[in-house]
């Protein structure tokens, strides 16, 4: 069985590398393997009457909801082969989503992450790269910390885990940024980390980062009860850090996926649209009937990610997005909707989802 996965991993890697290949064909082959080896997923497919034989169009491949990663082990890897596991962030005591990897699948994850990061962040235009997340040694189950760690050979982590277990910043992060010879820098972190860093900025000093610096924010407030819109967050960062809006890039990712979407290329003006790489496709589907919505309409975001080799390639998120011709626009989570009337809506399930809404699953 491993041979088959190794072969398809190599095919996906070649596709990521730009070699000719057919997305649909890869997706169908991957689906067939995962159908066979990921039991909870197979049960779902069976109940919907979908098999590798009759799933001719990739639209027919059932998407597994992100909650499945909490409830079940969505993996083809036997326990003894799981060398890495990424968890979604969440409140203590609740089961997080778990995404298992072995060396081979982790390597593919890294290939995918690097390949789409590079053209968006244009790291050759900055002199240093700082991540505000803790190092992977401190947070081995954070896909975000791992991603930032491997995304570029010269990344300095300036985040740490505080005594209360929450993510915090190194005390000398400001010193590193304020050195006189520090040139343009790329700062990467969660939305919360940019709020934390701004808190420490000296008053009347909003040019903490040099001209030409960039920011990559991944959303996420790590359980804090803050729910800012992207616009508000970007205005805040732009004001506090003295950067132009186009120097701030949003990333969309989650531990259940192996590829990420970016909403613009650093330094590029124009409308912001999230786009996945060519080896991952977003589909915005109507929650009413499950079919893709028309352009301009809102629905649930589904992703077919070919880099999800050892889990399930088709994932349905709880994120609501607007479908555009050139990408998608995130508008929140299904869970953020206020229930009408005055009935309670605070079950365990909802709490979990509300927490996710506050801190993006990717971390």
């Amino acid at each position: 069985m491993d041979d088959k996965f190794t072969i398809i991993t190599e095919r996906v890697r070649a596709f990521i590398g730009g070699e000719d290949g057919d997305f649909d064909e890869l997706a169908r082959d991957l689906f067939a393997l995962q159908y066979e080896h990921v039991e909870p997923y197979r049960h779902l497919c069976e109940s919907r009457g979908v098999t590798p034989k009759n799933a001719n169009a990739i639209a027919a491949i059932p998407a597994i909801p992100t909650t499945a990663f909490k409830e079940f082990e969505i993996t083809s890897l036997p326990p003894n082969e799981r060398t890495t596991v990424f968890h979604s962030s969440g409140t203590t005591g609740q089961t997080p989503s778990r995404h298992f990897h072995n060396a081979e699948s982790l390597h593919l994850y890294e290939t995918s992450a690097r390949a789409w990061f590079k053209p968006h962040m244009r790291t050759d235009e900055v002199e240093s790269i700082i991540t505000l997340t803790p190092s992977p040694k401190e947070v081995p189950h954070s896909s975000l910390a791992h991603m930032f760690d491997i995304i570029h050979p010269e990344v300095t982590p300036m985040g740490r885990v505080g005594e209360d277990g929450k993510w915090d910043l190194e005390t000398d992060v400001l010193d590193s940024l304020s050195q006189p010879d520090v040139g343009p820098v790329l700062l990467m972190g969660t939305a919360l980390s940019f709020l934390q860093l701004a808190d420490r900025l000296p008053r009347h000093r909003n040019n903490i980062v040099s001209h030409g610096s960039r920011i990559l924010e991944t959303g996420g407030y790590k359980g804090e009860k803050i729910e800012w819109t992207k616009t508000k967050l970007h205005e805040f960062i732009s004001r506090e850090y003295g950067l132009k809006h186009e120097d701030i890039v949003s990333e969309y990712g989650m531990c259940e996926l192996s590829s990420q979407a970016y909403d613009t290329v650093a330094g590029q003006r124009g409308p912001r649209r999230f786009r996945f790489p060519p080896w991952a496709r977003a589909r915005i589907v109507s929650p009413e009937h499950g079919r893709e919505v028309s352009l301009g309409e809102t629905g649930l975001l589904e992703v077919i990610d070919l880099a999800n080799v050892r889990s399930v390639l088709a994932v349905r998120t709880a994120d609501l997005a607007i479908r555009h011709a050139d990408g998608f626009e995130l508008i929140g989570r299904a869970t953020n909707s206020e229930p009408r009337g005055c009935s309670l809506n605070a079950s365990d399930l909802d709490n979990r989802r509300a927490d996710e809404a506050r801190s993006r699953t990717h971390a």
């Binding site: 049960h43 909801p65 009935s343």
Partner: protein
């Protein structure tokens, strides 16, 4: 989609209330203060000394009219209601019929007598036998001005509060939640048409929740604030009230059904499923009195899972007659997400089963062996859970204790009384038959409190 719509709908109604003006006619705290003072002056002139008997007659006649298909305001409600409220026309018609059907001269008199001892005690001093034995009498008066802060899109609680206010002779300022002013506005107009002087003691407006300067103006002028909404909202409102204001807050409540094994013969179960479907469909399950789930005892002739299937059949049948109507993408996404969650469970474990409408989210029934209490995401999404007995149910629903309004109970007569006692001690404030959850009688004590009793202030007269 629905937000603010009621302001845009040109219903051809005259500008009697602030809510009738277009949004560009901006409100200000000064306008609110002046409106409140005018209401209080109007009350002294037109309402305070109106005999209760007359108010009762006006209200009862109005309620009767609202159930008449030819009543122009009902026509407006049903013509524009689906667009403005999201409820389908048949659902709305049924909800309004049930609501107004409860308001009769008799039920209004009974309500006053239940809460105040005698229905004439709002008009002047009058003693109950107990008081007379003590050589005294008493009269009750309502607040000068009640400020209502309403929540949600269910019109009935707001209308009922307005009816209570008229009964106790209070001027009323109703601040409607955004997107929830359509029916209250029509009701206010109908009251104005029925009796312009009563209508002149009523004002309605909409502003975004938590707008402090507006609310401060209202809180300064009103002597009683009646608020519904989330617990945090209520606490927050209360913290902003000047000293000496009466505050009646109705916070989060949940409701559910409970079915005893001895009433689960096949014939009875079918009947119960029909009635339970009514509870789920009424106001699309959006109110505090709507069921989150039904607990069904094991070891009856009909198993809980089979009951869930029957319920699914009944809801499906009802959907054809009284469709749920359109909901927002967010609400629909909530349902889709939950369905995914339970579908995944059901295909991987044997103790979960789901029935749902094809091709849309209009209804869903989820059966689970696991009895732990779960909230529904509403809009006709109902859980059915198997349970051993009432004791187990109370244990697994502990998290909701103190927040339960209604339990719809189906049990043999012999057991029912003991069960009601247990539920009462546990904190439940209303037990009703299945099928009647959204149809409480006029005398219903909201949150277990005497409704008029909490509004009035007494003057005792010792002879």
């Amino acid at each position: 989609m629905r937000h603010g719509l009621e302001r845009m709908l040109d219903l051809g109604l005259p500008n009697f209330f602030l809510i009738d003006t277009q949004p560009e006619a901006r409100l200000s705290p000064e306008i609110l203060t002046e409106a409140c003072r005018q209401l209080k002056r109007n009350r002294v002139q037109h309402l305070r000394d109106t005999p209760t008997e007359q108010s009762v007659k006006i209200l009862a006649r109005l309620a009767h009219n609202w159930r008449d298909d030819l009543f122009p305001i009902r026509k407006l409600a049903l013509a524009h209601g689906p667009e403005a409220t999201g409820f389908s026309k048949p659902s709305l018609a049924r909800g309004l019929d049930q609501f107004f059907g409860r308001i009769t001269e008799e039920s209004l008199h009974n309500l006053i007598a239940q809460d105040l001892g005698d229905s004439r005690r709002l008009d002047g001093p009058m003693g109950t036998p107990e008081e007379r034995a003590d050589n005294r009498t008493a009269m009750a008066r309502g607040p000068e001005l009640i400020g209502h802060i309403t929540a949600g899109n269910l019109p009935c609680p707001t209308l009922m509060s307005m009816v209570h206010g008229v009964l106790v002779g209070s001027a009323q300022f109703v601040k409607c939640a955004e997107g929830a002013g359509f029916i209250p506005r029509l009701f206010a107009h109908s009251l104005y048409d029925a009796h312009a002087k009563l209508g002149a003691c009523l004002e309605l407006a909409i502003w975004p929740g938590g707008d402090h300067p507006f609310e401060a103006a209202l809180f300064d002028e009103a002597d009683c604030i009646v608020a519904t909404g989330r617990d945090e909202t209520l606490t927050e409102i209360q913290s902003r009230l000047p000293l000496g204001k009466r505050f009646l807050g109705h916070g989060h409540r949940v409701s559910f059904g409970y079915i005893h094994r001895d009433v689960l013969s096949r014939a009875m179960a079918i009947e119960l499923a029909k009635n339970a479907a009514r509870d789920v469909a009424a106001w699309n399950q959006l109110g505090c009195l709507s069921p989150q789930l039904f607990y069904v005892e094991k070891n009856g002739a009909v198993r809980p899972e089979v009951f869930a299937e029957m319920l699914a059949g009944e809801i499906e049948a009802l959907e054809a007659k009284e469709p749920r109507g359109e909901i927002s993408t967010e609400e629909s996404a909530n349902i889709a997400y939950r369905r995914d969650f339970f579908e995944l469970r059901s295909v991987n474990t044997g103790d979960v089963k789901q029935w749902k409408s094809d091709g849309d989210t209009s209804w869903t029934v989820v059966f689970e062996e696991d009895p732990v209490f779960v909230n529904s995401c509403l809009n006709r999404f109902i859980h059915v859970k198997a349970v051993e007995n009432l004791g187990e149910m109370l244990r697994v629903a502990e998290m909701t204790r103190g927040q339960v309004s209604t339990v719809a109970l189906a049990a043999p007569k012999n057991d029912a009384e003991e069960m009601v006692k247990t539920l009462a001690h546990w904190g439940v404030t209303r037990v009703c038959p299945i099928g009647q959850m959204q149809n409480p009688p006029m005398g219903w004590r909201h949150d277990g409190r005497p409704t008029l009793g909490d509004l009035v202030t007494w003057t005792d007269w010792e002879l």
